[in-house]
């Protein structure tokens, strides 16, 4: 299930409609603020998932790509929840890393 389907799938159920309101707003505002279409955002998200998951195990379902306005500048903000670092490619860590990795561009 891709990001768009997840959002519009959620919109149909009323139980967590606040969550779908938030996700739909983030998509609409990415478009309003930086002229990035939902399709482009979805493609970007897939490519980021591809790159990051080469190095760490990530929670693919909860990767977020949004556009935020910080002061006068728009930022593409990506939130990638990390499940654990990849044992063969990264230095093993004694603890499970669960904090989301955040990249700003």
């Amino acid at each position: 299930m891709n990001f768009l389907e997840r959002i519009f799938g959620r919109a149909a159920s009323s139980s967590d409609s606040a969550e779908s309101a938030k996700l739909r707003l983030q998509m609409a505002l990415a478009h309003d603020r930086a002229d990035i279409s939902p399709q482009t955002l979805d493609t970007m998200r897939d490519e980021i998932v591809g790159v990051v998951s080469k190095y760490v195990d990530i929670d693919r379902e909860n990767v977020q790509v949004t556009v935020s306005r910080i002061a006068d500048v728009h930022h593409v903000v990506t939130n990638v929840p990390v499940l654990r670092t990849h044992p063969t490619r990264a230095k093993p860590s004694p603890r499970r890393a669960t904090r989301p990795a955040q990249t700003k561009s």
Partner: protein, 264 residues
């Protein structure tokens, strides 16, 4: 020196700009501030009825701007609160009757005599919005926790930030804590995360707003209603007092974190 010009705007219509202007005017005047509320919604006059002053109108904003009335003659003094004044909108004209420059001049004159000049902006982002924010020193954005209102607020914030003004502050109106708890309404933290501007206050959904508007007796005239108390806290913050945010929406401590984050 002189008072502050504060414009209340929203993008989307019907979210509570006029209600907020009336109640903030009342709450500020009750705290001894000299206040004038300007109804800038020319052609759709409403602030007069919300304040209960509709029977006392002789002249209006356009009469003053076009010189048919002196500024003093245009102002209606509220008999309940000696510090509170209203400059009503013209009802039979439209938004082309006023220019940005004329509003700036008018507010500059009023600033000499009042601590707060509150401008109730019309909805939208056209001429009426533009002449309303032109004189503003501070812009307050009213939003309800709904997709369309938040989206329109984002557009307005972008337009205000493009001008050389202090950054706008947010009033979230018609908040329903029980719906937020059930995951059926955007929480304060969601709205702040999306809009990333400073929170000025949260006003709950309150039936007292409707009954008080029926009577032309703004809720902020008394302390007992939840919405009246919320508007009073906002007025105190506008006066520079440090008033703690109440956890209306129970978003698990996030609200506190955000209010601290956006406090300057």
């Amino acid at each position: 020196m002189g008072g502050q010009v504060v414009t209340i705007t929203s993008g989307k219509g019907g979210v509570g700009k006029t209600t907020a202007t009336a109640n903030l005017g009342v709450a500020l005047a009750r705290r001894g501030q000299r206040v004038v509320c300007i109804d800038a919604d020319i052609g759709l006059r409403n602030l007069d009825v919300v304040l209960g002053l509709e029977n006392r109108i002789v002249y209006d904003l356009v009469d003053v701007i076009e010189g048919r009335a002196k500024l003093r003659q245009g102002l209606i003094k509220d008999k309940r609160l000696p510090e509170l004044h209203l400059l009503p909108a013209a009802q039979k004209r439209d938004k082309t009757a006023v220019t940005d420059k004329q509003m700036i001049k008018l507010c500059d004159d009023l600033r000499k005599e009042f601590d707060f000049v509150l401008v109730d902006s019309p909805a939208g982002i056209e001429g009426g919005f533009k002449y309303s924010i032109a004189p503003a020193y501070q812009v307050l954005i009213v939003v309800t926790p709904e997709v369309s209102s938040v989206r329109d607020a984002d557009r307005v914030i972008g337009l205000v930030e493009a001008q050389e003004k202090s950054s706008p502050r947010l009033i979230i109106n018609r908040m329903r804590p029980s719906m937020v708890r059930r995951g059926e309404m955007l929480a304060t933290s969601d709205v702040l995360e999306i809009l990333s501007i400073e929170l000025l206050g949260i006003v709950p959904e309150d039936e007292a707003i409707i009954t008080s508007t029926n009577k032309g007796h703004p809720v902020a005239l008394e302390d007992h209603s939840p919405a009246g108390a919320a508007f009073t806290r906002i007025a105190q913050r506008m006066m520079g007092e440090d008033v703690a945010f109440q956890a209306l929406d129970e978003s698990g401590g996030l609200l506190d974190r955000f209010s601290r984050l956006f406090r300057r």
